[in-house]
Symmetry: C2
Subunit: 420 residues, 2 copies
């Protein structure tokens, strides 16, 4: 089966809003081996919507429209869909009841604009939207299915995952694609490519490898192509062991894993607790850890010491060391980690001290220069890194690398190599 995505919205065309809906839809389709062969982003007007619907490729089975619905939209989308699929805009009592129930939950009264959402094309099947007022819609025309969801990502997520995909799963369709993604931490694409060169060259034509870099991490996606999902899966699994042998501790997880989740699982397995003492990461390390549901099982807290006074007062960092070595130094970051572990009574503590930028750099300690420390029952270790010039990326890369120090330690691997 093949699919197309049509994103409706001026706000995306002018760049004011990032299009995350089509990513969500594509990911879900891809899991099912359904190929998305084109995405289009068009304006919120009758003519481009009709054009896009008319220009759908003859081989497309499923068309996803997202955007152009909502309480302050002027209903161009719904009118245009009625024009294309036939019928009239008709009142739908169940949708009105659902809108009223949603507002009752918020202790608010729906406005006229909210209640207008209950008018939908008579040619559609309504997909109930539990997260908002604009319902999803399913149409059928010339043997092809069309799905329409509102532009709000939280609502589209619900409709796609809870309504549309379970319905698609019941369609008879072709399969034969399988992906597995291996998540790596701390090495750039070009170094990984060199490590993998010989293995990559011997891959059969039915298995492809893609490098998907993001700051500090590269995802390696192995795709198998065969007559069935099961056969495609076997092709990928046959390569997995070789890949793992080549990369060892560089791989921290697969598919939808995140480094904070992997670290969280390891802490639970070890019945161990964690705290942090953060300077340059400014709370982002704690945020990464606490973004995992249930992290209160192992995470106790953090001292964010953005000033030297807090480093001295709350983390017992020596004033003499701050004066002699500076805040971004090995003695200071190790004292921070040791104090966090002791003060908060945890098994492990992670600490960061670096020059996040854009200001504060010097010849000896340029922007990106970062010390990270891990304190544990066995003592304190620290590593220095040279990240880059970009503040947000330095914060992100420092946080991920600190988590990776703990991940490697808990898995029995050596700490990451210094890049300074």
């Amino acid at each position: 089966m093949q699919a197309e995505i049509i994103v409706i919205g001026d706000e995306i065309l002018i760049g004011q809003t990032l299009d995350t809906n089509s990513q969500l839809i594509a990911t879900e389709l891809n899991k099912r081996g359904i190929q998305v062969h084109q995405k289009r982003v068009i304006a919120d007007e009758r003519k481009p919507i009709l054009e896009a619907l008319e220009q759908v490729h003859p081989d497309t089975h499923l068309v996803f429209l997202t955007g152009g619905l909502g309480p302050t939209r002027d209903d161009i989308t719904k009118q245009t869909l009625t024009e294309f699929f036939g019928g009239t805009l008709a009142h739908h009592p169940e949708v009105e009841a659902q809108v009223r129930a949603l507002f009752a939950g918020f202790k608010r009264t729906p406005t006229e604009a909210n209640l207008q959402q209950a008018y939908v094309p008579s040619s559609c099947t309504v997909l109930p939207n539990k997260r908002g007022t604009a319902p999803g819609m399913r149409f059928k025309k010339d043997g092809r299915y069309y799905f329409s969801t509102p532009g709000v990502p939280y609502e589209t997520e619900y409709l796609v995952k809870e309504e549309i995909m379970p319905w698609i799963d019941q369609l008879p369709g072709a399969r034969g694609l399988f992906h597995k993604t291996f998540l790596t931490q701390g090495y750039p694409e070009s170094i990984l490519a060199r490590k993998l060169e010989d293995w990559e060259n011997q891959l059969p034509a039915s298995v492809t490898l893609a490098y998907l870099p993001s700051p500090g991490q590269v995802r390696l996606r192995l795709s198998g192509h065969s007559h069935s999902t099961e056969a495609a899966q076997q092709l990928v699994h046959a390569q997995e062991e070789k890949l793992r042998k080549l990369l060892g501790p560089i791989i921290f997880g697969t598919d939808d894993d995140t480094l904070p989740e992997v670290v969280g699982r390891l802490l639970v397995e070890h019945s161990a607790t964690l705290s942090t003492a953060e300077s340059c990461t400014g709370g982002y390390l704690a945020h990464q850890i606490t973004s995992v549901p249930g992290s209160s099982r192992y995470f106790q807290g953090s001292i964010i010491s953005y000033s030297n006074a807090i480093k001295q007062g709350h983390l017992q960092v020596s004033a003499a060391d701050l004066a002699t070595y500076g805040a971004v130094s090995q003695p200071v970051v190790e004292q921070m980690a040791r104090a966090a572990r002791q003060n908060m009574g945890t098994d492990y503590a992670l600490a960061s001290s670096g020059v996040a930028g854009p200001g504060g750099g010097s010849a000896q300690k340029p922007v990106g220069y970062t010390w990270l420390a891990l304190a544990g029952p066995e003592g304190v270790s620290s590593v220095v890194f040279h990240f880059g010039q970009h503040r947000q990326r330095n914060i992100l890369r420092s946080s991920l690398m600190a988590l990776d120090m703990l991940r490697r330690h808990l898995e029995g691997y050596p700490l990451p190599q210094s890049s300074a």
Copy 2:
């Protein structure tokens, strides 16, 4: 002038990578009054690339291609561009020198794959890429300009902002569009729409309003359309005062402002310092504050007290109050704010305690139930909110609302209304 964007990359079609490049390009074009009338996302293969290039709309002046270049790509894009624009793939000594210089900076040696980047179509003008190995390219064909940048957002950002846009700014072109976006905090789209209904109905046809919601915030984009940018700007400015009168303190900034930046500027104006004591926000509030360059001028630090032991030991929260009222309660959040302010010696402190979810909710304190407090020289105030069911959104909305409490206080407005 009109533009089209062609995004090349299987990783975006299958949903594994979010397309941020086209947002960046569209935003930059839009600032210049250049309309993007279509975006396409296509596979990293010869045929779809050629098709997309051949199907460019006759009215399009500028075409942006992004993706399909990089050290591990098999150069299909560069070969296909050579086929379309003519010429041959030729070695470019300056690009090789730039790749070598980039690696020397990292104290690494370029691989063969890296050096391959120096081969570019002879029909293009090379755009030097200071952030990576794949150069940008500019082509001209049939009076239309084409720009090609690598898929890595950090590199495309550099090429678009530093190379391509300054060049476009020198082209003679049509203008006559002006946007101004007003940023609001704490009210949903439907409530804002009701407040603005009468004003919206009297807007002239040359001024349009768009609602752009994100969790906790709605951006209101006013667009003026006229014969020149200046005339369009005047149309928008004529409406600004009326809009501000209707929304008052709900508007916290305009255009690219962020709430942490606005709060940071206010703290600098008031020569005041800030600390935080975080439970449910888990470091995200401190991260928002410290994501602003120069935030060390006013931000001292934070105590993240994820456990009750840390609340008692580091924030002097009363054990009796924890037992009587629970961690998510007014007495506890106010004690947290007061202690943070005193312990870290700051003028202001913000504190959070809520049920982020998905676990931990009860009938009386469901997921989303959140207390926020502000301590200052005048004492401590607190407000309770009911956010929603979604952990990450609760963390985000709590952090933004806490910042908005301080923003309103520093601007002399009353605190936000409780939603509980």
